[in-house]
């Protein structure tokens, strides 16, 4: 059973047991335009909620990706280095950024649900 939540920084987090997978939302990917470079965190890096975790760049914009929840990185998506276009093609699937073992499930439950995020985007 997995559950997906969203942040106001346009990240999504999917929680499977202790492990969270993080990426940027379809909305964010569209706003950035063609993604040309992604830097994902190395395995073992400890991140606090809201800490800078990854970098995503398009031709005209660069943006930090923040850890939506605290925890330790278990894997960065190495495939993005060779093919950053995956972030545009499938932002909420193959275009995931990193996986982490989360420290506190409460942090996760405080994030927005899909419906809440949809409303949030509408309000922008």
């Amino acid at each position: 059973m997995s559950e997906v939540r969203f942040t106001d920084q346009h990240e999504w987090v999917r929680l499977d047991g202790e492990e969270a997978t993080v990426g940027i939302t379809k909305f964010a990917a569209e706003q950035l335009g063609d993604v040309v470079f992604v830097e994902v965190p190395e395995t073992g890096r400890k991140l606090g909620a809201g800490g800078e975790a990854a970098v995503v760049e398009s031709v005209k914009a660069a943006s930090e990706v923040y850890a939506p929840v605290g925890g330790e990185v278990t894997e960065g998506n190495a495939a993005l280095a060779a093919d950053p276009a995956k972030v545009n093609g499938d932002p909420e699937g193959e275009g995931w950024f990193f996986k982490m073992k989360i420290a506190d499930k409460n942090e996760f439950s405080k994030l927005m649900t899909e419906a809440q995020y949809a409303d949030f985007v509408k309000g922008l």
Binding site: D34, V36, F37, E57, S58, V59, K60, P84, A85
Partner: protein, 524 residues
Amino acid sequence: MLNNQGRPTAPGSAHSEELPTISGDRGLDHEEGLIFELGRPGMTGVDIPQTQISDARLGGQRRKGAIGLPGLSEPEVVRHYVRLSRKNYSIDAGLYPLGSCTMKHNPRLNEKMARLPGFSDVHPLQPQQTVQGALALISELMRWLTTLTGMHTVAMSPKAGAHGELCGLLAIRAAIEARGETRKRILVPESAHGTNPATAALAGFIVDEVPATDDGHVDADALEAKLGPDVAAIMLTNPNTCGLFEPRILEMANAVHAAGAYFYCDGANFNAIAGRVRPGDLGVDAMHINLHKTFSTPHGGGGPGAGPVVFSKALAPFAPLPLLTHDENGFRYIEHRGDLKKGENPFGRMCAFQGQMGMFVRALAYMLSHGADGIRQASEDAVLSANYILASLKDVMSAPFGEGPCMHEALFDDTFLEGTGVTTLDFAKAMIDEGYHPMTMYFPLVVHGAMLIEPTESESKESLDRFIHVLRTLALEAKAGNRTRFEGAPRLAPRRRLDETLAARKPVLRWKEPAPVPVAAAAE
């Protein structure tokens, strides 16, 4: 007699359809390969004798492999670069309305003067008694710069505007340290040039953004609320990047000083006020001057620039080495701390040597040609021309702050393109087909789809009218739903739109020898 073979002298019928040429070139537009694809081994475009040398004094470091440079004769090199030059737009060839860039006429007298041997063929470490003319020129330029700005002194060594910003902030840092304080924050308006926050970070400060008001000014109340014992300085562009003079500038400067902080002014837009307003009277403590903007040194395809920094009395002691002085023996550069006078406390050195001498000569030639009266006239004409463009276009394009007068640049946003399917980028690229360089786009960031137009004082009224006519017509066509001029524009430039995504995803940043084609494949 001259046409006895019946050579036709009338043009005859013109075919309109595009027929691909055999050569790939199109009339005056030549396709040109890379220099590395043109040469051949052993050829050279210079006559230098062969010299036999021994390895005895090379420390065992003689080059083992070839460099890989191509060999070409002089005519080939000349043709190559002439052909490349023809693929560039230039201010000499047409109006260059880039906002915040001040693309004004570059007088050729300046070029001639910069090549005088007493300026161009002197070495920075020659004995100082042999470079008195060069030092006198720098001293005279310093006098012009401090007089025009109403400031105390000027550091000449910064090599460009951003380098000048760094110089200014390092002086501020040194002044704060000399007071025994530590202040970490620099206030930067959100409309600032990107170099401002980048420089503040480089100089070790934390950037704190100040919002803009709805009318395009810096929010002076928000600024004052942010001031405190941790604020080192404010970096303000005035006139600002929306092309507006900050009306509350004196109030802001006073508040900044009262809080113990300094006022850094980004001088990129000095061309609007030179000869009419002295930044020193506005409370400025440090300001860089882009000689390649206000004082007409050529942009040269992106450089070299020059960014002297004028300082108030409060910051003057911290100006970097070297320092130019004058006494009964003439001019002299103080190059070391050991030679300083009491009270001088330079923060360091910006670069090797004394700065961009070649640019100094050009700038002084401009100043002497214009005089104080001509510089004032230039600013007035620059402001007049921008306002003329604003007044002539604001009914068909959208000017977010078009109520009052602007300074030397007119700002538009993309509201007028709403629902047309035409973007700011399309609109700008369509200008290329009309023979114009686009305006500055998507800057400043405080308005959506910004288009910032700076005509400068160098355009005649006829030239401005023609430009206005083209922009009006483009705007009306876009609004009428006629997208043909915009989609995929430009069509008539040496290249169509280039794939920047590909360039960034798979960076190819240098030519490499192509892999040899296998013999079997070549034979096929």
